[in-house]
């Protein structure tokens, strides 16, 4: 026991606290888990629960769009499919929401396979614009059969997962942490490296013996399942699954979160949701500013983009960390030599060297 404690302490000191970015992530996890104990205001909890749900959604988009470069403009399809499946099953069949959210994720997984299969031959802008169509086709079908889907109003009166706001918050927060860290691990594994390769050069990846088609479909399915899970949580939290879960606005919203945070990072879009969603809600609650909140949101996004075109997270990371030129490991920006291989990080460049274009 004592050994394990000491081991954990050493891990923390040597692996987490040495890098400012990892320290930030640790602080964020602690804050997410500890917040209701410190500050239990129902309104704040409500906003943060929604933030957690949307963070899952944004992270799943990033796995698909950032890593394989299949920029999905119709990610709301999976969110809406999860919401409607879970809602209909629990309302019409009377199943427990704890079961139906998995059914929602499973349907979204199947849809992910389907959309991924249909989009295999498309790439770039064609793929983006074609995927935009899928949630709208689903929306058209829902409106055409209002008896089944509730039409414009959606299906309301769903059961919540938990009774108290704090418990609901923990359900969302723990699912979010599990899924986001799961996606992050996946993206950091060999699987993720293959995805990077597919985005950068699909022909070369195929020539290296990678079944790129299988990978692309799998990623679509995984991203779809995660988004569907988020959608199901959303439906049971708000107790309504409506057409707004399939609308273009939601698909665009996730694209904004993803790119604002920085693609192909997983943590970037999550950070973007945690900054932008509470910000818009807070702006909406100020009298007089409320009507302008989307306007302010859009202007902030535009301004941030002008200064950080690669997104927020990569920009911050470059400010607080440097990469070792020899072993490619990351170091805190205050370090003079690399913490792992001892190579000099901040070489003094003289004026003369700069003039002749050294480095």
């Amino acid at each position: 026991m004592k050994y394990w404690l000491r081991r954990a302490g050493a891990e923390l000191r040597n692996e987490v606290l040495v890098l400012p970015s990892r320290t930030l992530v640790l602080l964020w996890v602690v804050a997410v888990l500890a917040l209701p104990l410190v500050y239990g205001d129902a309104y704040v909890l409500r906003i943060l629960t929604m933030t957690c749900i949307f963070a899952i959604f944004a992270a799943s988009w990033d796995l698909l769009a950032g890593y394989t470069g299949q920029v999905n403009f119709g990610h709301a399809l999976f969110f809406g499919a999860g919401a409607y499946t879970s809602g209909l099953l629990s309302l019409k069949l009377g199943l427990s929401p704890w079961l139906t959210i998995w059914a929602g994720a499973a349907v979204a997984l199947a849809l992910g396979f389907l959309v991924g299969y249909l989009c295999l031959r498309l790439r770039g802008s064609y793929l983006s614009l074609a995927t935009l169509a899928f949630p709208l086709i689903a929306l058209g079908l829902l409106f055409a059969f209002p008896d089944f889907s509730g039409g414009e109003l959606g299906i309301s009166g769903l059961r919540r997962l938990m009774v108290t706001p704090v418990a609901n918050y923990y359900v969302a927060a723990i699912s979010m942490l599990a899924i986001v860290f799961g996606l992050w691990l996946l993206a950091d594994s060999k699987f993720g490296i293959v995805l990077h390769a597919i985005r950068d050069d699909e022909v070369a990846a195929r020539a290296s013996g990678i079944n790129t088609l299988q990978y692309k479909m799998t990623v679509f399915a995984i991203a779809g399942a995660a988004a569907g899970f988020a959608g199901a949580l959303f439906a049971h939290y708000l107790r309504v699954a409506g057409p707004s879960t399939l609308e273009v606005a939601l698909s665009f919203q996730v694209v904004i979160w993803g790119i604002f945070g920085g693609v192909a990072t997983i943590y970037g879009p999550v950070a973007a949701v945690f900054i932008l969603y509470p910000l818009t809600e807070w702006l909406g609650s100020i009298p007089g500013v409320g009507e302008l909140r989307l306007l302010i949101f859009a202007v902030i996004v535009l301004l941030v983009l002008l200064f950080m075109p690669r997104g927020l997270a990569p920009w911050v990371r470059d400010k607080i960390e440097t990469q070792c030129p020899r072993c490619k490991q990351r170091n805190g920006s205050w370090k003079i030599v690399c913490r792992l291989c001892g190579a000099a990080l901040q070489t003094q460049v003289t004026r003369a060297q700069r003039l002749v274009g050294h480095q």
């Binding site: 031959r121 074609a130 169509a133 055409a144 202007v299």
Partner: protein, 289 residues
């Protein structure tokens, strides 16, 4: 019913063609997926409404001023917002989404969310093949046709058009041949938004004007452009007519068709993409390395 389908399909197809050709043009030349394209169409409709109803200028004058003002605004937006992030494709994408949101919210704040009606430019109707076509719809058709001819003339019979086509074909080589590709991109933005603005002005009296009127045509326009092949003018024109007719047939011939028209149009796009991933008239993908 057949005549209704024929006429409605042609009129809607004309409007879609104006939008889709502009979008296609700007994608071909500058590789910008301009989500804000139909937001400019919405702005033109609002501008037309303000000038016509609030200040009481004539139809022609307010139409011309609206098109001019919106085109000018698009060039300013391009210089301020799009040009600084041109290298980052993703950033350009959300910059255009954010621009569209800014316009939508500004209009929502200034005019409110309710529908605004514009009095019809021309009253009366003509009977043709047993259907009565209001002059207003005929005007849309005539203006759309005239604009298409004008664009064709500019693209194929002027030096600017030559430069635009060359840049669309190969940006680097066009640059090496001494064309100012930034200037060409800006001119293309102006032309393409002017087309969208014209569409906004002519349809404003037929449809209602509201801050969310850009979303529905945006989706249809994207479907058309993908269907016809990105960057292809001919493809956009034919795609616009196909989608215009498909929508008209769905609305008139299928029960609950008004809800399904978007879904059917998008389904057609998906089917075409499955058969021909580069669209009807798009160039086949070259493997970019």
């Amino acid at each position: 019913m057949l005549q209704d389908i024929l006429v409605t399909g042609l009129v809607n197809g004309g409007v879609y063609a104006l939008l889709a050709i502009g979008f296609s043009l700007i994608f071909g030349v500058a590789r910008i997926v301009n989500i804000a394209h139909t937001a400019f169409y919405m702005l033109a409709a609002y501008c037309f409404y303000t000038l016509l109803v609030k200040t009481g200028l004539g139809y022609l004058l307010s139409g011309l001023i609206s098109v001019g003002a919106v085109t000018l605004l698009s060039v300013v937006c391009y210089r301020l917002v799009i040009e600084p992030v041109r290298e980052h494709e993703a950033a350009v994408l959300i910059a255009t989404i954010a621009l569209a949101l800014v316009f939508q919210e500004l209009m929502l704040y200034t005019f409110g969310g309710h529908f605004l009606g514009i009095p019809s430019t021309l009253d009366g109707s003509v009977r043709f093949l047993g259907v009565s076509i209001p002059y207003q719809r005929l005007l849309i058709l005539v203006v759309a046709g005239a604009m298409l001819v004008l664009v064709w003339f500019v693209l194929y019979h002027t030096r600017l058009g030559l430069a635009i086509r060359a840049t669309a074909n190969d940006l680097e080589v066009a640059n090496l041949m001494g064309m100012n590709v930034h200037r060409v991109a800006m001119a293309t933005v102006a032309i393409s938004v002017a087309l969208a603005a014209v569409a906004g002005v002519v349809v404003a009296p037929v449809y209602v004007v509201d801050p969310f009127m850009w979303l529905a045509p945006l989706v249809t326009m994207l479907a058309i452009v993908v269907l016809g092949g990105l960057g292809s003018m001919k493809g956009s024109l034919i795609g616009a007519l196909i989608i215009g007719y498909v929508e008209a047939i769905t609305v008139f011939a299928v029960p609950a068709g008004a809800y399904l028209k978007g879904a059917v149009a998008l389904l057609i796009m998906v089917i075409v993409l499955l058969a021909r991933p580069e669209g009807l008239f798009g160039v086949a993908f070259e493997e970019e390395r």
